[in-house]
């Protein structure tokens, strides 16, 4: 599944970059995220509860920062598993705009969902994913705007 979009954030670019690269900060905006563990600068592990329709699963997601060009470009790879389900994703975000802001983020994600979540939740996944993405960016925008 492919997702992409553009978000305007009313904050200077280095602040946006720092926020997005801090797993604890950005993780606090992920819907259903229960814990974030920073393994090293480029490796994190999150536990998150995800619900699609009547299916709900607690995922353990291992994330690797695959590419990093401050303060413009980052590519994150994620591999998550829950009993009977798995998610593999590559997310890319590119920041642009005046240094003092507002900052434009062009993002895209290539997500492969396997197992029960895909099989039983197939017809609801896209709607749920769009909702979760929307919630995440709303949260990021509001936290950065208040910073």
């Amino acid at each position: 599944m492919q997702f992409q979009g553009t978000v305007q954030i009313d904050a200077p670019r280095d602040k946006v970059w720092a926020f997005l690269l801090d797993p604890n900060q950005v993780g606090s905006c992920g819907p259903g995220v229960e814990s974030i563990e920073v393994i090293d600068e480029d490796h994190f592990r999150a536990k998150a509860k995800v619900g699609v329709g009547f299916i709900s699963a607690r995922f353990t997601v291992d994330m690797t920062m695959a590419e990093k060009t401050p303060p413009d470009l980052a590519v994150l790879k994620a591999h998550g598993q829950a009993p009977g389900s798995a998610v593999d994703a590559t997310a890319r975000m590119e920041l642009s705009g005046p240094d003092a802001g507002p900052t434009q983020m062009d993002w895209s994600a290539d997500v492969a969902i396997s197992g029960t979540l895909a099989s039983v939740g197939a017809r609801m996944i896209e709607g749920t994913a769009n909702k979760m993405i929307g919630q995440t960016f709303d949260c990021i925008r509001s936290k950065l705007a208040g910073a």
Partner: protein
Amino acid sequence: MTTELHPQTTPEVGGMGHSVKRKEDPRFIQGKGEYIEDVNLPGQLWLDIVRSPYAHAKIKSIDATEALKIPGVAAVVTGKDLEGYKLHWMPTLAGDMQMVLPVDTVMYQSQEVAAVIATSRYAAADGVAAVEVDYEPLPVVVDPKKALQPDAPVLRTDRGPDKQTNHIWHWESGDAAAADEALANADVRIAEDIYIPRIHVASIETCGIVADWNPIRQQLTMHLTTQAPHAIRTVVALVAAGAGLPIYEHNIRVKTHDIGGGFGGKVPVYPGYVLAVAASFLTGKPVKWIEDRSENLQADSFARDYHIHAEMGATKDGKIQALKVRTIADHGYTDAAADPSKFPAGLFNVITGSYDFPNAFVEVDGVYTNKPPGGVAYRCSFRVTEAVHAIERMVDILAHDIGKDPAQLRMENFIQPEQFPYHTPTGWEYDSGDYPKALQKALDLIGYDELRKEQAEKRARGELMGIGISSFTEIVGAGPSHDFDILGLKMFDSCEIRVHPTGKVLARLGVQSQGQGHETTFAQIIAEELGFPVADIKIEEGDTDTAPYGLGTYASRSTPVAGAATAIAARKIKEKARLLAAHLLEASPDDLEWTNGRWSVKGSPDRFKTIQEIAFAAYTNHPQGMEAGLEAVDYYDPPNLTFPFGSYIAVVDIDKGTGEVTVRRFVAVDDCGNIINPMIVDGQIHGGLTMGLAPALYEQITYDELGNNLAGTFMDYLLPTAVETPAWELEKTITPSPHHPIGAKGVGESATVGAPPAIANAVVDALWHLGVRNIDIPITPPKVWRILHDKGIS
């Protein structure tokens, strides 16, 4: 049903032709049937299965640490554990290999990865959720045509170095050169791609087992959902021998209890069965495994999935000349079909159907993909449904192409009654049939000419109505031992009859009812032959310790094979009864004649002995030199298959706004030879028609590009209910099988086989004037709506 039947017995005796109420129904309608789920043994453990989220992946590690901490979890079994016993792979009924648990690679989404054994169902499920498996995803092959391309990843690397391909086997039948030549010379030549989608039997009872290894007695009892108890027993014995386990066939007992629907889905051996047996062997306790609905829909064997390309040639006035069919069969990751071993594509070469084809050639290639095993003969005698759908679609396309009425074209091309026994160009000998009679009866019953007038009027008004015909020939009753075996086991079947001193009868058979009414119909055969009332006859199946060996119930083989064995065993008893009667009447056996359950002296009808009197004498007053008792057994090896047939006509209306198809009327004229119980035959046809409506309009298992099964619940896998099902209108013709002892043919599957093309033909008939030649089933509202939308119709 109005067909004239002439029962030879009184209603009290209830022999053939009587609609005897089903002896099994009192327990079913009171909720007192006993299914595997109802079997609970002291000390029983539960087994649940960890399944793969990926359709193709390497297993990097399996960590059971957290699972084993859960109270009640006794053990977690992985492929590596089974490898030590050489139990990680098992043979399929098609002679391929299937994983019980994978050691390093999973091959389809929801495949078994590990088993958790626990003291309760809940603890087992909690244990499954706590087992951590680390996977590395591999490229997924979903499309069988792509699987054959040179750059496709080879899925079954376990096969020998000369088999590093996704191609499993090639099979062909008929004369390719003759078919090519006839096609080249034909005035009219048509070609079509027809896909018969992957579907699931979706029986109401899912699969399950209670495996009970008794280490003291060294006995294994398997309470098991299986349609073929004896074959399973032998396979288990062979697998145990291969694994070096001390489980021998005389100490293996398979008990089926009642079975809540089989339809072919309970013929294969599933990994859950083997895991439960292994777990019971390791723990010395009974182990129960019952799959849930989603496991059943995602992991059990599937049916159909044939990609057919058919070509047909005819003269300009519609006399058919040649048929050529090329097919790709998607088998999933292993060929687990229960086809007879000489027939990897089943009896698909019955594809010339009811028509007198001078030339035909058919070829099938089996292919591996990242899906669960396919090839189940879903209420179908080994690929006949696929064959019938293709030929009935092709005949209709030809009729429309040359502007001839589809009924007329069929009448002009039918094999005629005087041509039987008829030899098909692909090697079958049809035993008997009268195809024009069945079609004419269906045309008369539905009022065909009036319907065509109505259709013309409606079309002029822009309304969409279609009429579709299917004049199918089935091929059932596998099968003669010279051609038919499964894993080497010849496909005979058996019946043993014991007449007790007080004139009551116990009969045991090698087949296995799954709801078909065997306890009634086989009793009626005995009642017919021996004159015992049906009420005095008990039929037992499904216990391998007591029943004679047989190959089980599928492919409509019970009446053609075990029914014949029952009649012949009864006739053996009748012959012994003649000798006993001669002794009692002090007459020569040759002077006796049999009428209505008694042997009487010819010319002196007052001098007789009833079968009940004879039975008592068999134990109390048998002549010196004769064996006491009144018993017989027969193992019946059929000389040929039987070929039931019929003509079905569907009338459909299509909603232009939504694309929804409504089956307004459906007439089914069936011919299954002599009829044992008309009510049960009608019941079989009702069920079969509904299971034919289902794939025609609703059911399909689809996969996304990652190999995720998208029909894993009844929300997505649409079974028709009474709301969607039309009122079936049934009729019969009776053309007895000339070689079957009671002239009967199989019937359980005719309607499943015959119904889908009647509905598909009706839909295409409604849309032909818009340029529609074919719509693959299931014909869902979105498919039809898209066609109408593209044509600017709403």
